[in-house]
Amino acid sequence: MGIVSSSIARKVSMALSGLFLVVFLAQHFTINFSSVVAPETFNEWSHFMGTNGLVQFALQPVLILGVIFHFVMGIILELKNNRARVHSYKKYSGSANSSWASRNMIISGAVVLAFLGLHFYDFWVPEIIYKYVDVNEAMESRYYPELVHKFESPVRVGIYCLAFVLLMFHLWHGFASSFQTMGWNNKYSKAIKGFTKLYAVAIPLGFIFIALYHHFNQIPH
């Protein structure tokens, strides 16, 4: 069995791709949060992200590949792990020794993945059509109203909020866990763990706040 196919190598690749997505999430949150405090800045940043060649044709494909890799590897690991226990226990008390978030990463991950499908349908697909199919002219002022109008529907806002709660569970275990998988264990471990837990709660709550803020502060069409 080669090094690449070892269980530790798979987990390390999972941790690295997860850390990459955590960094992306922070950047995504920063831009989105600007829509609450400074709509012009949001338009400016969104325009830059949507038109910059490096972002569009280098970073965006890397990000999409990172997401695909993370969930494909997650599914591979889940299937392999399930095969490690052919006969399950008649009685299993998992909650006595581990958290729900740590035991159900595949569930929280699947919900986040389903949410990504909706999120792409809401924002990414219309953006691609606008720019590359209909070949419209770049218009910096369109991003803010488009964003606000997406949060008009209470059903969509509800789905977004639910997905962010599951994202919170996913990050709560996954972010801290990635450092353990990378072999990180030193005098800074406690502080790092504290930061990961803070991040896991703050970022999804921030996204929920943004969705609710725009839902209750709609602008005319």
Binding site: S6, N81, N97, T181
Partner: protein
């Protein structure tokens, strides 16, 4: 006290097992869990029935033989103890207790509650040793200075008794806590440096070959470990493995 036991009965490795129900009476709170099973077996033998097979040896928490999944948890409801250290005062009169064998592809059931844990032996054989020159100029181990903290940590890792509770507790049936403890007890000492890279690569390779799952860092293994083997060992084996992989 009077208890209802639901015990996994399986004739042999190939037959299909099932939970069977037994009643035990006059159970004293000061009995160990294994003594309670002794009482049940004495009763079964007296009535001409097949006694329940279960592993046990020292009955003082040292050997790592006893291996029962009790009410969904390895070694029962208390943390950091073996089944033989579990006393019946942890249960109430009228309780129903479900007793199952460790469940893992790498730990096939031999009979009833006895599983084959030789997968652990094979992991150990793959690298859990040091080579010492015994040709006549053997260096006394005590002449090699070791930092006190490292010596203590290596000793703590070496206290793993290989009972398999870590595998039984893990949702993935992962053997990372066991393997990491066995790697750590050498990785922390100068005597283990020579074979460090080969050791970790071979032991992880063997662990994967045996069919254990990957570590999800749930921490269940540590909670159920009778010897308090720390999760830091898992970070260390990951680190050692990455280092060995890079060095080639």
């Amino acid at each position: 006290m009077k208890l209802t036991l639901k015990i996994w009965r399986q004739k042999n490795a190939t037959s299909k097992g099932s939970l069977e129900t037994y009643q035990v009476t006059d159970v004293d709170g000061d009995m160990s869990f294994l003594e309670m099973l002794d009482v049940l077996n004495a009763d079964l033998i007296e009535n001409g029935k097949d006694p329940v097979e279960f592993d046990h040896d020292c009955r003082e928490g040292i050997c790592g033989s006893c291996s029962l999944q009790i009410n969904g948890r390895p070694h029962g409801p208390k943390r950091h103890i073996t089944t033989c250290q579990l006393h019946m005062r942890s249960f109430k009169d009228g309780d129903t207790i479900v007793i199952e064998p460790w469940r893992a592809k790498a730990f096939p059931v031999i009979k009833d509650l006895v599983v084959d844990r030789t997968a652990f032996d094979r992991i150990q054989q793959a690298g859990g040793y040091i080579s010492v020159n015994t040709s006549g100029n053997t260096i006394d181990a005590n002449s090699i200075p070791v930092e006190k903290d490292d010596a203590d940590e290596a000793f703590n890792s070496a206290t793993c008794i290989g009972c398999g509770a870590c595998v039984a507790a893990c949702k993935n049936a992962s053997a990372m806590l066991f393997t990491s403890a066995k790697v750590s007890q050498f990785a922390l000492l100068p005597q283990g440096e020579v074979e460090a890279s080969r050791r970790v690569l071979n032991m992880v390779n063997q662990m994967d070959k045996e069919g254990f799952g990957a570590c999800s860092n749930t921490g269940a293994c540590y909670i159920e470990c009778p010897k308090d083997i720390s999760l830091e060992n898992i970070a260390r084996i990951n680190r050692e493995y990455l280092k060995a992989s890079v060095e080639g």
